[in-house]
Amino acid sequence: QTAPIRVGVVTPLSGTYAGIGQQVKWGLDLAAAQINAAGGVMGRKLELVYEDEEANPAVATQKAEKLFQVGKVDFLTGTVNSGSTLAVGQVAERNNRLIATTVSFADSITADKCSPNVFRVNARAGMQSAALADWMASTQKNANVFYLGPDYEMGRSTVAAFKAAAEGKGAKTAGEVFAPLDNKDYSPYFGQIRGARPTVIYTSVAGNDTVRLFTQMAEFGVNRNVQVLGASGTVTSQNLAAIGKAADGFVTGVGYSPSIDSAENRKFVADFEAANKSKPDLYGADSYGVLFFYKAAVEKAKSTDTDKVREAMRGLQWATPQGTKTMRAGDHQAMQDMYAVKVEGGQFQIVGKVAAAAAIGPDACSRF
């Protein structure tokens, strides 16, 4: 067989998450080019087929179905919002194909809503909190944390996860507030934050909201003498430039940082920058890695047959820019080392690390 192996990518190329979709595409394109240049997968080339899901699960399912049925793809990846990942997972089950997400970090995807046809190669929310809480406990005695999240389910559950991890390590809670998603002006909340006199502010706002939040915190001096922490999506290479100096000192827990000091990563970052004139972020890196995951599984199974590949994927270890990852068989969640990274002078620097086994948490999937 020499026909190419077709991999479907359903990702938001327009809409709210277009920026993330861009990183996904860059990572995948780079990986496919490298794999094909090195002879492909079992002698077959990888061919990526893109569909825009507009960050809307209803569109995502339609597009996924199209790729499975009309596009005849063997494997599918790229979904960003967890709603899309969950819905597309169902389509995969119905079509007896496999998918992997490289971005969605809602715990449920590999816990209570796990699916035999869905894998996750990126770190989930719980892992990120674990790494960050660990770093906070080691640097701040008696941390008094104020929580500020975007007011929707994901923002709230991210705050809740970190709060649990932080309180588990002895931190106190100074207060919490949830601002609407796409909030324009955070100054109305600053009164509350000042009044609570926190030593740490943890936030789970993301994307464009972060730019405003940080700019305004600096404008009002809210972040003076306070350590600002946040979720992995809070400050990324997409919004870092726009935030500028206001981001300095920010720390988050992630599964990837361009500053990871290894030969593999240095090469990856260099290749990525050469191809895309932009640094990779965690989404780009995990999307890059997913094709090597698939490649390893297919080569192990010596087939693209769904059942055989699934078996091969379970427990599979494969190399990624951030080091070797292991796919846990019980819930299809990848295990990996987690990092605490800090923004300094517009660059992410690694300031702490938690081993994979300590970060991953229990297997809560009971479907398989």
Binding site: Q22, D185, S187, P188, E219, N239, A241
Partner: protein
Amino acid sequence: MLDWLQFVLAPQVVNGLSIGVAVVLMALGLTIIFGLLDVINMAHGEFYAIGAYAALALIGMGLPFWWALALTPLLMAALGYATERALIQRVFNSKDRHTLTLLLTFGIAIILEDILKIVFGANPMRIEQPISGATEMFGLFFPNYRLFLMAVGAAVIAVVWAVVFRTRLGAMVRAAAYDRHMAASLGVPVSVVYAGTFAFGVALAGLSGVLLAPIYSVFPTMGRDFVLIAFSVVIIGGMGSIKGAVIAGLLLTQVQSISSLYTSPVWSDPLLFGIMVLVLMWRPHGLFGRLGHG
């Protein structure tokens, strides 16, 4: 108690005020275009975004912020004029003007947003604040740029009001909006008036875009939800009423700002909407009716 007034309530009120001015500027453009042309400009938010991007581009070319502030409204007016002449004018005389122009500007909005994404990318950008520092007043900490924003906003509002209600130009525009044939027969150059009015509204949106770019970030969909608040303000104030937009804009942002002290912001939208419904039940045309039509 005094502490609470000074350190909790007072900053909240003043911050609310600066947001209020921003919202009023947006609402003003909307309400003028609606009140005078009977057009619901669904692309208003995109014009606001284009204003911010235009300033960004001008600054990128090496111009100082103040030049960008002055030039952007002019560029936006030209864009608005062209849009009206090329597109909106074509459906303006249909009897379904309301619906058709709403849908048309909706289509324009989709296109503009995507063009911004192609040209500038989806990632957020920002303009540095041209005025830095903060003023301490009565123990309150207040960024200077916001003070400037409020002053400019107030001046623009005053000028707009005077033009619409105190000049023959304003009367001409309102007449042309209601009855193009009769107005034309009195010598009003209706096509020019329509396009000019639209251009004026668009220029206002662009101006808000530049003014707000230094505090809010700049990205292609930046106008989308901002325009929602502006719409509620316009409805509550009465579509087409300038006075209504100003009063409702300031009032609503205060309600939001103060209520955020006590309630979860999940309730901020339902609260806003609840107020809107209550106002409309009490006064079906908003607080201050409308100015263009009977």
